[in-house]
Symmetry: C2
Subunit: 360 residues, 2 copies
């Protein structure tokens, strides 16, 4: 059996869309959710892509822990601010609609913020931030998530990996797309090391006694991830502060769950995830052409910076993902056999057999 | 000679105010600048306080590199957005006025953003973020700064230590005030180690060959600070991304200098520093009492989290600084003798003798 199978991106989107439709998600919403999920794989972020189709989404739709209708309600509204209740809908659908409204508002008001409570895991934060790019706007997308990260000097995990995503358009260069967990690495990265029997670098996580460990199993069982920066000496409390900030804006400002109350997708109760979206219309601050010219100049300066020995390239955030997306769009999206197995399993549960023909 | 001398906070503000007034800063602006500068010392952040009175501000006012009138101009304006030219004024005055306008706009529009170009070093970023607290708003303050930080895989330094400051009110608990450089540590921290002959922890900086070094002199001379996270393995490219993000919002969006073009306060030309301020009115998203109750609950949960061995306290961001400010407000602000010497020297240059009587 090959290590990976490669599928056309449109085939994958079509399959995921059919999957969601079969679980009573309205067709237009199913398309949205499929686009968000497959975009993660397209950009090489498989941990947030179709591998989670059943575990994070399908299983919850099947037993009523996610409402397939995503009945979003407006809680509070003004020309530049919007507070939404996601109606315990699919995070991707709720996130997409919230960001779409935010972009519309920013087009009129010059900037806008939308908060969301009562949502679910929404996939890659960067997807929503990037929705602002074609409008020549700056997009910001934050979400809280289930507790996996310990605060500096503490254990257990009470904070999520709470990502920060910001997308800013450039001119001839590719956009800047920062999409980062506020922990050093994701729990998925630890699991990969655990599975392959590889030790993890010191600093990524702590064991149940709060000690730095290189044994991934110790992090997974009773330990915790460390926030960006790692131990206090290397200023891990800044990463802790960023994680907390994301939760205060996504969870507390929206009125969603926060801290250790944010539900894990595999848990029985409503997740009550909170999101925060912001959009800035660049033209309200300076002419877009000047802005883009400076973005290009900055990116070129960074790329022309002398390299450390052994390095031949300085990357701009999002660049690697754009390159993957271009390649995979043309050649197909490679999926590890375990991901394909997860799709086959998901298909059985939902009664939508995964029968796509790989291109290789 | 004692290690520190302690002064009443009002005496210090009065002195700094007289200092600026003597350098042709209008009296009301001099009070603003004094309040910002002394607030840094009051909060225990001496690196950004009166020690820089001459080197960053007085010397530039004296030879015309900062315009004492701070002639701010509006470049672009809408109900929720404002783009300003700081007129090469004092960063503290420009920052204070820009944030004041941002708060006024947010009170009407529910949120607002103000960008600033053509400004100067504005002291602690947190001061401006905290201005939103009495209004029950969330304050955000970003600024770019002179190049000190290397991008991941590169050298020399092309990025600033570009801080992120966010202030959010709580109820009975103290506010959350994150005020962090996006580098692991400031250059001042490296200088302190260099002066005292102490090695720095591995990870803080690299030498001229791009190698991690524990010799602070090597970082200062031809080396660079590393962004939060440190080396690539510990995800220093996230800190690099945060530093770049702050510069894109502060420098590029405002039309200020960016990257290696941002002027060091000791350099002859205009610094053309850029700032970014944002304010969110909490009531536009949820009732302020609910918000504050959740802030309190979150803070208490974090503080009640079990501690690692040898630790007896988990801190919330800003907490240490609030404690210092309360103590120093009552007992006086302790200044190291080298800071007092800097004040004496500044006073001579400006013709305003530093003659404050220490309380001890």
């Amino acid at each position: 059996m090959p290590e990976t199978l490669t599928y056309r991106v449109d085939d994958l989107k079509d399959y995921v869309s059919r999957f969601f439709t079969a679980l009573n998600v309205p067709e237009i919403d199913a398309h949205i959710a499929a686009d968000v999920l497959v975009s993660a794989d397209l950009r090489g972020i498989n941990s947030h892509g179709v591998i989670r189709l059943h575990s994070y989404y399908g299983s919850r739709l099947l037993d009523g822990r996610i409402d397939p209708a995503s009945p979003i309600k407006v809680l509070n509204e003004s020309p530049a601010t919007l507070a939404l209740d996601g109606g315990n809908g699919l995070g991707q659908v709720v996130g997409y609609r919230a960001m779409s409204r935010c972009i519309e508002m920013a087009d009129q008001a010059g900037l806008a913020v939308t908060t969301v409570r009562n949502s679910n895991h929404y996939g890659i934060a960067g997807y929503y931030a990037m929705m602002a790019l074609p409008e020549d706007m700056i997009g910001i997308s934050l979400t809280n998530s289930q507790p996996l990260v310990a605060p500096t000097y503490g254990l257990p995990a009470v904070l999520g990996t709470n990502p920060i995503a910001v997308a800013m358009p450039a001119g001839e260069e590719r956009p800047f797309v920062l999409d980062m967990a506020t922990s050093i690495v994701s729990i998925g990265r630890i699991a990969v090391h655990d599975k392959s029997g590889q030790p993890i670098p010191e600093g990524w996580g702590i064991n149940a006694r709060g000690e730095l460990t290189q044994n991934p199993a110790e992090v997974l069982h009773g330990g915790a991830l460390l926030p960006l920066g790692g131990p206090a000496e290397l200023r891990g409390y800044k990463g802790y502060g960023l994680s907390l900030l994301v939760d205060l804006l996504s969870g507390v400002l929206s009125g969603a769950a926060f801290g250790s109350q944010v539900g894990h997708p595999s848990h029985p109760h409503n997740a009550d995830v909170g999101h925060f979206f912001a959009v800035l219309k660049i033209e309200n601050f300076r002419p877009i052409d000047f802005f883009k010219a400076d973005m290009d100049a900055y990116i070129r300066t960074l790329k022309a910076t002398p390299k450390l020995p052994g390095q031949d390239r300085i990357y701009i955030h999002g660049e690697k993902e754009f390159e993957k997306a271009e390649k995979y769009q043309a050649e197909g999206v490679p999926l590890l056999s375990e991901i394909v197995a997860a799709l086959v399993e998901a298909g059985k549960t939902a009664g939508v057999p995964f029968n796509l023909k790989p291109v290789r």
